[in-house]
Symmetry: C2
Subunit: 140 residues, 2 copies
């Protein structure tokens, strides 16, 4: 089935092309935060609170890398660290007020950019595209 293979090639190419551009654009949007650092902050918000090892597992990164990024986020005042009362080895990460503000601001700007980009797409096309992406992402 050559058509199917050609389509699979296109999917692969476009997704990697997107990944390349994502880092570039994320760097422009938030000069102080990389895409990964931003995602970590986002996950901390999503979970309410979590440990550094949770971040390492979720992002498939080494714990040392996470340690440094968390330190950076704390230095920027975007998260707080407190020892885990249940296990003194670990620490609970929480987003700070500034961190929440930054996330909300970024989400809003991103939404505006997306509205712009999809102006000439129909509602049906957008819904189907979102459905396909979700279905793809569920395979991870």
């Amino acid at each position: 089935m050559p058509d199917r293979d050609a389509a699979l090639d296109a999917i692969q190419r476009e997704l990697t092309a997107f990944a390349r551009r994502a880092r570039h654009k994320a760097a422009q949007m938030h000069p102080d935060l990389s895409l990964v650092t931003y995602s970590m902050l986002d996950l901390v918000k999503e979970r309410g609170s979590c440990r550094a090892s949770d971040l390492a597992a979720h992002f498939m990164l080494d714990k040392s890398t996470v340690s440094r990024q968390v330190t950076a986020l704390e230095k920027l005042g975007l998260i707080t660290r407190e020892p885990d009362p249940e296990d003194q080895r670990g620490q609970l990460l929480r987003p700070s007020e500034d961190g929440l503000r930054l996330l909300a601001d970024a989400a809003e700007r991103r939404r505006l950019a997306f509205r712009e980009r999809f102006t000439d797409w129909t509602d049906d096309d957008i819904a189907r595209f979102a459905g396909y992406l979700t279905r793809y992402g569920a395979g991870d």
Copy 2:
């Protein structure tokens, strides 16, 4: 139109999630080449021959970065460089036999992984998904 916004949010979330994991997965799939280096080789093959500045423009990378990656590709014997007969300043990049072989091999492995992942997708769904991604990518 809340549905539309919800779908846009989903698209945004899934695409950034993919971008996060891209590096890790690419490293697994192509152990010898980085994601960017591999993409460069792929574009050179796609175009038949091209100049380094074309790569820089397409990948939104600095020309110095491209220069180093191209040097690496040449050292690995995956591409060849020859002065552009039309413009002595530039150079024409072409994939070597080894480069073509590596690309074909990688494409085959990738296709296998993708076939696995997309087993329960219909041909129509895959074609539409590829179409949406291409349409999205064309907006850059």
